[in-house]
Symmetry: D3
Subunit: 327 residues, 6 copies
């Protein structure tokens, strides 16, 4: 009976060590990552329980993913194994200004991309759960995955769960037009929509004067309850300023700004989502914005997509604990 | 104007360090390998020139493969780049008795598997060349790849090149029946067929009293000129005895037996093929058997599929140089 | 409701890479291991479910252990966290003949060594379980740990669980006299005792003409049901011959002998115990001997104490699958 | 006959590579470090000779520490080996803003914590020496260690050595009250006290209007000759501004400010102490402040606690040599 | 028929990992690098073809260099192997403010330092080529190398190639006086001179009011066609601002300024030279300045001296693509 | 006042990891080694004290060597630093049957090769010492080194020290004729000559019916007191049988044979020499043969040339301690 259910793909991430380019490397560091699972893991680190729903190939790579899902404390009880499919992979190059970090996806034909409605028994999965989280990436994997996402959202609402979607538009997976059409259907009536101004403009043609204006339009058009997003000042690859913002019922909430030194940029948005859900499970978007900004800021300092952070550390950052070595 | 032309797939090989299982690993060592290319590289190391013909995706992984092909001295002039395909990958686990080494292939939908006849201008490729080498793996990739292989063999013979095929049956790619049907057509009239007793039995239903008998049957049925194979006594994963055997025109040639301590089992058969071609380019199968056995034996001591061996080292082993540190 | 409950210490294992001595090393590879947990993990890999009961410090090292316990699929639900204790550590040097591998323990004052009877609610822990496994190491940690072990064994028998003890005498933890006194009490009436001839002689002054004779004496003195042990011919550090033997109700069972190339000697006996329990859960000691010998033999090829082996691999070894690369 | 004698603990430091958290790591980089020894090593690098006095367990870890003490050029002649104790360990996580670096100590029951007065023959140790250095960490290890520190200070003064103490308050070892009581006794009449404003306030309830005021109060209360400290502007984990300040006989000395890019924060204060002693051995606090600030600034760029820096490099920084690659 | 011919030394570069000092390291990362070759490689990455002319010892280290030259796509056809010489080596320490990065050369008696005029058949080498590039380092290796450089420049001009020299003064190889005397002869009448203000002052006693003034003087004194250089603001070791500037025929061209986060400082100037040649091959110094600044800026983010950068990436930076992860 | 004085070169050893060839490697593991120093270190590990006499360049590489000399406990007090020379390097490739391990030397022009008689104050160096050890490698470095060796031997004898020479013929340094001529002079009247049958034949034209016969001839011709050597059966690169043999005053001493699994073949003979000297310092060649064989056998299991072995371990092997893990 986990608090949170997340549905989506986890890929194996392969990255050359120490800023090497893929072309020159002789080894790859292996991590796992997937937006929805990352968020589930963040919720676990903040003290909640979570389960991850997906499909994996029944081979050592699929098992590796499940092993690591359990390692960070998320349940893999509802993962289905398939005999012939493959794991999604992505290759990551770490950059330095003026060279951005880059990703090469090799995720076609993955086990979860073959999902179809009816494959998962959502009422059983949702029994005892309080929240369902998914992102636009799942919907982008295939028509079947989009349909299964819709099926899951419907079931979640019927089961009385809170629901959240992180738009997470990926230009390497689909066009803004496709994404806009599919996501418009999915976001209808959900409790939390996480979205950037750019994605709202490109997918929904919603262009606000500011975040609150954009959020209000989203609320009106799609009947969502809360809208949240990140703020980022990006002068460099190794250093940013980072904050979170949220809006609900006419009220805007803004977090503190954090100076972040960036070990690994991936997973920050997913950690933010975990903080948001953590707050909303207590019925408190403002709490979610503060926890989300803090855990998201810390996540920039963590190697890999997964939030190896403790709630105590998040709360210490919220309390302004400073940067001296603790000893 | 290379001496040898090889046609086939090169994959990226990813292996956990130090005998780790894939399930438990946190990094992967990256090498490249592909049977036909490995043999071309062996020929270069023995003093010949070679070019490798294939298709690669136009992304960092495809370029990585081409970089390393050039690194060992094989030409990539005729490699074609495709915009949307992927690289074949394989994951290798190193074993120890009683656990055999294992391979997980992830090679579906690779750029070379999409090849069709007509894509390569073989007469241009073969201009000035003396030998064409391919293996059963290329034919197993797809119907298009099998057809392109047939096209290449025909063009090679027309251009007056010697031709060789290593059967290299792979049970993860096709059935013995499929392989037998396709390979029967390809081996017809070639100069050198490399085959194991087991594969001959399974693919061609040829079962000899000994190697000479089997080879004689192959020669009679397929009109091949020479037949060669390895002999291996396999008590352990880390140690074998290894030798080569060849047959042509009623004459059997046998190499010395080598005690091999095994750093990396892959590529030994491909190195043997290089030694064979090296001999046959001098019209001398017996030389080929001796060079093939020696370079194949040494290849067990080399990390990766590629033959980082010099001709001087091969000739030193042939001369019985012993195992003392040279200093 | 796991099939197997295991009780004992898991330590962090720190080993210099590539045969280095501790004195000279600049890095340490980190694994976890503990005899009882290793066995629980082996049961999970063979298809059973298992939970591990212990105490850990509430710090990153304690959490690291719990993370990895979950990673391999064992439940950590009943692990207790303590605010001030430490983790047991052990430092491992890999040897080569004539230098044996060596261990430096740094496990005093660990959280589990502070355990006392009454700290764990055994009836709750055993609910739905079928087997309880412990070793002499747990009893050797402290008087409290020995008393808690006795308490657990009593509760397990009351709950109708099968019980097993691996003597696992450790001369760095206690004397043969102490061990004999304590273990005599614990082994009384258990279902499976795993013991070597040497330990029986040193701890219980039982000296048989052969394994069957020794086992019969143990059965008679302690009322145990089955006795099992390993057979090992040890010519070298990197290579052994390995087999298992068991005895019950007047019947001796012997496994095949395996040639083992040794990547990492640790955990082989614990894997054997897993195979034994796997068989006995089906009421079949002979099956246990065969599975135990096979998984124990394979375990020599695995880096780390943990059995990263699949049931399919064990059954392939039992079926004599050979040592060729699978491809 | 070393110039400097240092007394204290050296621990083995274990740190996950590349910003990993302890919870997720699979290997640990091993260094050694201890405040007093680090300072002794800094003196050696600046051209002095030094010996380190301590106790170590007679096992590979203890020998590892002694090996490395000698490696950097400090004498281990007076180190005592004990048969049963353990080495202190500390686990270090490297941070990035907003996550501070963190340390988990595992140093209880170390060999040096068991020290008692009378164990070391201080008159022999001090023969020919010119300076004795210790820090508050040694005194915090145990009552015996505090008493042995007092004994050593007395003997040093009797032998005519200069004496220095770095307060180095560690909240994980004792309370400010305990530290204040013990350190008040020890600092009496020493030549150099290194202290931060915060520690003076917390330990001695001394709160000055500025550094000079605080130092003057310390001089008056404890009869110390010189007081020194660091100045640090800490905007980030990877970058600081760093300087040194000293006061004696009514005169304040301030170093230049250095922009430091931080590879490893540990050991900077200990390197500063080495510079201070280096100056005071020439009777020149101002020289000490300048050398101390420069070597302390450079130490931020050095991996590990130990000052792998040459005097020529310190003097080049003092001369404003700039940041271009030397070639 | 390569577009560009480069003449000079390639050394093996050995660097301790992760900011370690040489004194403390236990391993060295191996790259290759040499100013002229680096530039040739940069031209290849921008879409040109190139060949590298040099001498190497006929041993594994010499072959390693040639392997890697081919790996990045530069031809090694004209490399000569010598039986007894050695490879130049250099040892690199990565720094952090206030510690500059440092280099220890071990390049005496290298194969290329033994070069003499007449050893290379320049007319054959230059057949079909369009540009010849060399630097002051080649001339500094030995009198023979300087004479061979003069010989090559003469032959290049006779063959109608464009010519470029990067002054690249190295104080560890020769004095400014020697360098000024030799380089004055070599730069006469070349098409592109790359020079810093400092080197012009020290070698040629040319001191301009600004870059244009200095360049005009160089043009007048030496009859060169274009002069180019870098601009660098160097607040720190890990971060710079970087730009390029060029002058020809009374016209000054300035690139944009780039914020560079520095993974590896080496090779940036050589990459700039590649961009300049790339522009001048199209007869366009302004293009060269822009491409040179962009590829030079990106090169700071690349591990090793070699420009593992694509033309697409250079053009993306020129187009202001920003620093967000591409996905 | 060390027991043993050793004179010779220590080089930096650079080896590709995990059986890689130099041509393919991207990193090198760094150790130090030199025959005479290795032996001195072995004596220290057996409980003696030792000093190493040599010359090093005054740069980070020279200091690295001195650091590590001290690390293992040998004194560097008499090492001289030179401003302009270089360190000797050697590159090591680890082999596997049928590929022998190989070494590429890059040691020309090293600081110690420039040594001349008169540079070292031998009477001071030998004060209080009991034994002087050198090998034929030192004499092979240069005429100056041979002369300095002769000077040192004369001084050692005058000072009453025992003397030993390990012939250690290196074909890459000189011819058998040169070696025979020089070494004939040096070995005259020494206490211990370590030599193989092959070297005696090639250098001195001494060919015995067995070891005793050869030794007797050496004793008669050169007036040496004892002769010792190794026995080795070399079936493979990873496994040997190893023993020691010695002869003095008509008596032959033979050690037990050891099965050795070979981690690193280098340094075994130097460790043997340490055991021999250890015995002869007690006036007991037989003890020396036994200790020498045991420490030499263990040395095959140690990474690097240096004997990271304890006297307790040597004595445990002598006592037949077996190969079980100690725990």
């Amino acid at each position: 009976m986990p608090d949170i259910v997340a549905f989506g793909e986890v890929m194996i991430r392969l990255a050359p060590p120490h800023f090497q380019r893929l072309e020159q490397t002789r080894s790859l560091d292996l991590e796992i990552g997937g937006a929805e699972f990352n968020t589930a893991a963040g919720c676990v680190r903040l003290g909640r329980t979570a389960t991850w729903v997906s499909r994996l190939p029944d081979n050592p790579l699929g098992k590796l993913i499940a092993n690591r899902v359990r390692e960070i404390g998320v349940s893999d009880t509802f993962v289905q194994y398939t005999p012939h499919d493959r794991c999604g992979l992505y290759f990551l190059e770490f950059g330095a200004s003026p060279r951005a970090s880059g990703i090469v996806y090799d995720r076609k034909e993955s086990a979860i991309a073959q999902v179809q409605p009816g494959m998962f028994d959502w009422p059983t999965i949702f029994r005892g759960a309080r929240w369902f989280h998914v992102t636009g990436i799942t919907a982008a994997l295939s028509a079947g995955a989009a349909a299964a996402t819709a099926e899951a959202l419907t079931a979640a609402k019927q089961a009385g769960l809170g629901t959240s979607i992180d738009l997470n538009y990926r230009s390497k997976l689909w066009t803004p037009q496709e994404a806009g059409r599919v996501m418009s259907g999915l976001v209808n009536g959900i409790d939390l929509l996480i979205a950037s101004e750019g994605d709202c403009r490109d997918l929904f043609s919603i262009d606000g004067t500011d975040f609150a204006d954009m959020a209000q339009q989203l609320i009106e058009r799609f009947g969502v309850r809360c809208v949240a997003g990140t703020r980022r000042e990006t002068p460099l690859v190794w250093r940013n300023k980072f904050a979170a913002v949220g809006y609900t019922a006419g009220q805007l909430y803004e977090s503190a700004w954090y100076d972040v030194e960036i070990v690994d940029r991936l997973g920050a948005g997913d950690a933010l989502a975990a903080g948001l859900i953590h707050g909303l499970l207590d019925g408190d978007l403002e709490k979610g914005i503060h926890y989300g900004a803090a855990i998201g800021a810390i996540q920039h300092s963590i190697l890999g997509d997964l939030p190896w952070i403790t709630r105590e550390e998040v709360e210490a950052v919220l309390a302004g604990s400073g940067l001296r070595i603790r000893r």
